[in-house]
Symmetry: C2
Subunit: 383 residues, 2 copies
C-alpha cells in the first residue's frame, strides 16, 4: 500500500534509513523514512547548512508551494533568495517530522508486520527528541557533520532546543522562535480538547478509520478550530472579525446566521482535514505535551545547556499567549546562568502566536542580523 494514497497521490521526496531508530519509549522502528526538501546549495566545506524545523501542522514545504494545497511555503516570507534565511547563501533542509503525515514514517505509514494495514494508533508514541534524532540521521546522510543553524517556531522551536541540548557540538547557532522549554498545563489542556473531539467523531473508529475508508473529519476540524483560537490574540480576532455577521444584519442572527469568526473557524477546520491525518495529530500533540527540558535534566533548565558553545537567538511575540514571552525569558535566563551566548528579542506584535508565520519585519531583520553575525564568527564567506 502506498502510504500516500489514503490522502492524495502526491509523492514526496524522501529518504529511507534502513537502520531505523530506537525511540524514547524503548521500541525500535525497523525502517525509517523521512520526507524532506532542500533549498540552496551545500558548499564544499559543508558548513552552510541550516535545518528548519516545522510546527505541529507544518511540513517540509517551507519555501515552495505545498503540492497538497497549492499554497505558498509556510515560511516563504523567511526562507528564500535574499530573505532572512537566504538560500543564496545557505543550504536549507526541512523534513517532515517523525510521526507526521507528509511522507515521513508515522501513523499513516504501512504497518511493517501487517500487510495492507497502516500503523494507525499502534504507531509508537514519539517525543520531540525522537524527531530530532531522526533528523540527525538525515542530516548526517547528507554528509553534514555540523549544522550552521537550527531554526524553528512553536514545536519547531522545541525541536531547536532539543537539538541544542542533545547535540550541542552539532549546532553552531540555534533560533527557537515562539517556543518554550516545556508544554504548560494550559497547552496540554487545549491539546486534550482536540484529542477528545477527534475521539468523539463516529468516523474515528478507535483510530482504525483508514480501514473503514473514512476519516474523523468533523472531530479533527474541531481540534483544528480550538488550536486556531490559541494561535491568535484576542486583539487579532477582534480586528479581523469583531462581531461582524456574515449577512450584516443583527436580527437574522437569531435564526441561522453566523458570526464571521464562526465561518472563518469552520473554514479553517474543514480545509485542514483535507491535508492532515487524525492519528498523526494525536501523535504529534502528545509529543509536544511530553516536552519538558528541565525534567529531562534533573529539574534544572540551566543544566540542559551547561557548557554549550552554541549561539542562541530567542524570539518571542508580545501578544503570544500560547507560548508567552515569559517562557522565552526563562530560557534566556537559563542560558545566561551558564554564560552561554544568547540574544533575546521580544517582537511587539498583536498577532498572537501566529505572528511567527506572518509579516513581522522586526523578527525577520533580527533573524537576518543574527545569522550574519554568526556567519562571520563561523568564518563563512561567499564569493
Amino acid at each position: 500500500m502506498d502510504q500516500n494514497t489514503a490522502f492524495s497521490e502526491t509523492q514526496h521526496q524522501s529518504l529511507t534509513l534502513p537502520q531505523g531508530l530506537t525511540l524514547d519509549c524503548g521500541r525500535h522502528l525497523a525502517g525509517l523514512t523521512l520526507a524532506y526538501r532542500t533549498y540552496g546549495t551545500l558548499n564544499t566545506a559543508k558548513n552552510n547548512a541550516i535545518l528548519v524545523c516545522h510546527a505541529l501542522t507544518g511540513d517540509q514545504y517551507v519555501a515552495e508551494p505545498n503540492p497538497e494545497t497549492g499554497k505558498p511555503g509556510w515560511w516563504a516570507r523567511v526562507v528564500g533568495p535574499g530573505l532572512a534565511v537566504d538560500t543564496n547563501k545557505y543550504f536549507v533542509i526541512c523534513s517532515n517530522v517523525l510521526g507526521g503525515c507528509m511522507g515521513s514514517t508515522g501513523p499513516r505509514s504501512p504497518h511493517p508486520d501487517r500487510p495492507g494495514e497502516l500503523w494507525g494508533t499502534d504507531f509508537p508514541p514519539v517525543t520531540i527528541s525522537d524527531m530530532v534524532r531522526a533528523q540527525k540521521l538525515l542530516v548526517e546522510h547528507l554528509g553534514i557533520s555540523q549544522l550552521f543553524a537550527v531554526i524553528g517556531g512553536s514545536m519547531g522551536g522545541m525541536q531547536t532546543l532539543s537539538w541544542a541540548t542533545l547535540f550541542p557540538d552539532f549546532v553552531f547557532a540555534a533560533v527557537p522562535v515562539a517556543a518554550a522549554s516545556y508544554h504548560s498545563a494550559q497547552n496540554i489542556a487545549f491539546h486534550e480538547i482536540g484529542r477528545q473531539a477527534i475521539a468523539t467523531d463516529p468516523d474515528f473508529h478507535a483510530g482504525r478509520y483508514w480501514a473503514h475508508g473514512v476519516s474523523p473529519a468533523r472531530g479533527l476540524a474541531v481540534a483544528r478550530m480550538t488550536a486556531h483560537i490559541t494561535y491568535m490574540s484576542e486583539a487579532a480576532l477582534t480586528r479581523k472579525f469583531g462581531r461582524k455577521l456574515q449577512s450584516g444584519t443583527q436580527l437574522s442572527a437569531l435564526g441561522t446566521d453566523k458570526f464571521e469568526v464562526e465561518s472563518y473557524l469552520q473554514y479553517q477546520g474543514s480545509s485542514f482535514v483535507r491535508r492532515f491525518d487524525a492519528n498523526a495529530y494525536l501523535t504529534i500533540t502528545r509529543a509536544m505535551d511530553l516536552f519538558d527540558l528541565a525534567a529531562d535534566h534533573e529539574g534544572g533548565l540551566a543544566n540542559a545547556f551547561r557548557g554549550t558553545k552554541t549561539r542562541f537567538l530567542l524570539v518571542s511575540f508580545s501578544s503570544d499567549w500560547l507560548f508567552p514571552t515569559a517562557q522565552s525569558r526563562a530560557i534566556a535566563r537559563a542560558l545566561n546562568h551558564v554564560a552561554a551566548n544568547v540574544s533575546f528579542v521580544e517582537v511587539q506584535s498583536d498577532k498572537g502566536h501566529d505572528a511567527f508565520l506572518l509579516d513581522e519585519p522586526d523578527f525577520h531583520r533580527s533573524l537576518a542580523g543574527f545569522l550574519s553575525g554568526c556567519a562571520e564568527h563561523a568564518g563563512l564567506t561567499w564569493a
Copy 2:
C-alpha cells in the same frame, strides 16, 4: 411528558405565567414557566429584594444544595445569613434562565403543539433581554415594583447590565461581576468550538437526541472542557496541575498515562453532562454571543445608560482573560460619561474568570460594603 424525566425526577419550584412572552426574534411563547428559589423574607415595604442572575451553567440553587448534584449552592459563599448578600436582611430571588434546563421553559420543555415531543432545537432563539423580561414577570408576580439590587457574574453580569438598561427605574443598584457589554470574537469562537463538538457527537441526532433516548454526552463534555479552560487562568492551571502525571512517572506517559490536567478536564466534562441539556447549552451560548449593549443603543455604550439613577458596582478579576478588566473598565467609562453613580473594583486574583465563584474575600467585602451603602441611600432599615 414531564419535562424533567429525561434528566432526573427532581421537581423544581416554579411559576407558570399564562400570558407568555414575546421574544426579541418576534415569536411568542404562549406559556412561560420559570423555576426559581427565594431566600430570606420580603419586608412589608417590598423594597429589600435582590435578584441574583446565574451564569451559563448555573441555576436557581444559589444558596442551598443543588438537588440534582447534591453540591452546595453555586454562590453559597456570597448569599446567605451574615454573608455579603445577607439573607437576614435581603429577600433574594434567583430563577433558572429562560432557555435553561432546570425547570424553566427551554429546549427541554414539552413542545406546546406536538404532544409527547420536546421543544429541542425548535425552541426559538432567545436573547439576554428575553431572559430579563421573563425575570421581570416573575419579580412583578411576587409583588415587587422595584428591586433593591440585581447582581450577577459572567452571563449573570450581562443580565444585570440588561436589567439596568431595559428597566432602569426598576433597579436601585446593579452589580455586574466579571462581565462585559458584549461578547468578543474570541468568546464567540470558544462557544463555537463547543457547539461544533456537540454537533459532531453521533448521539446528537440533529438535536432530536431526546427522541432517541440518548444525549450527546461526549460532545457536550468536550464543550464543557473547552469552556472550563477559559474559566481558569494559566497560573491557576499551573498551580493546580502543572505537568503532574496521574501515575507520577514520566516514562509511562508515553503509553497510556495521563496528565492530571487531562483527567481533571475529563471529569469536569463527564460530570457536567449529567446535569445539563445539550440543546439548552446551544440556546444559552447563542444568547451570550448575541449580547452587545452598544449595538442595541446606536453603537454608543454610554447611550445605554443615559439618565440612569441606578448605582453601579463593577467588579473584575485581574487574571480573568475571558471577561478581562478592560471590558469592565469600558463600562465604567461609559457610566462616568453620563455621570452615573459607579464604583469599580479590580480584584487581584490569579484564579481567572472562575474567581467570581471562589473564595475571594476582597470581592465579598466590596460587595457587602456597596450593598450597605446603597441600603442607607435607599432608606432600608432593619430592626
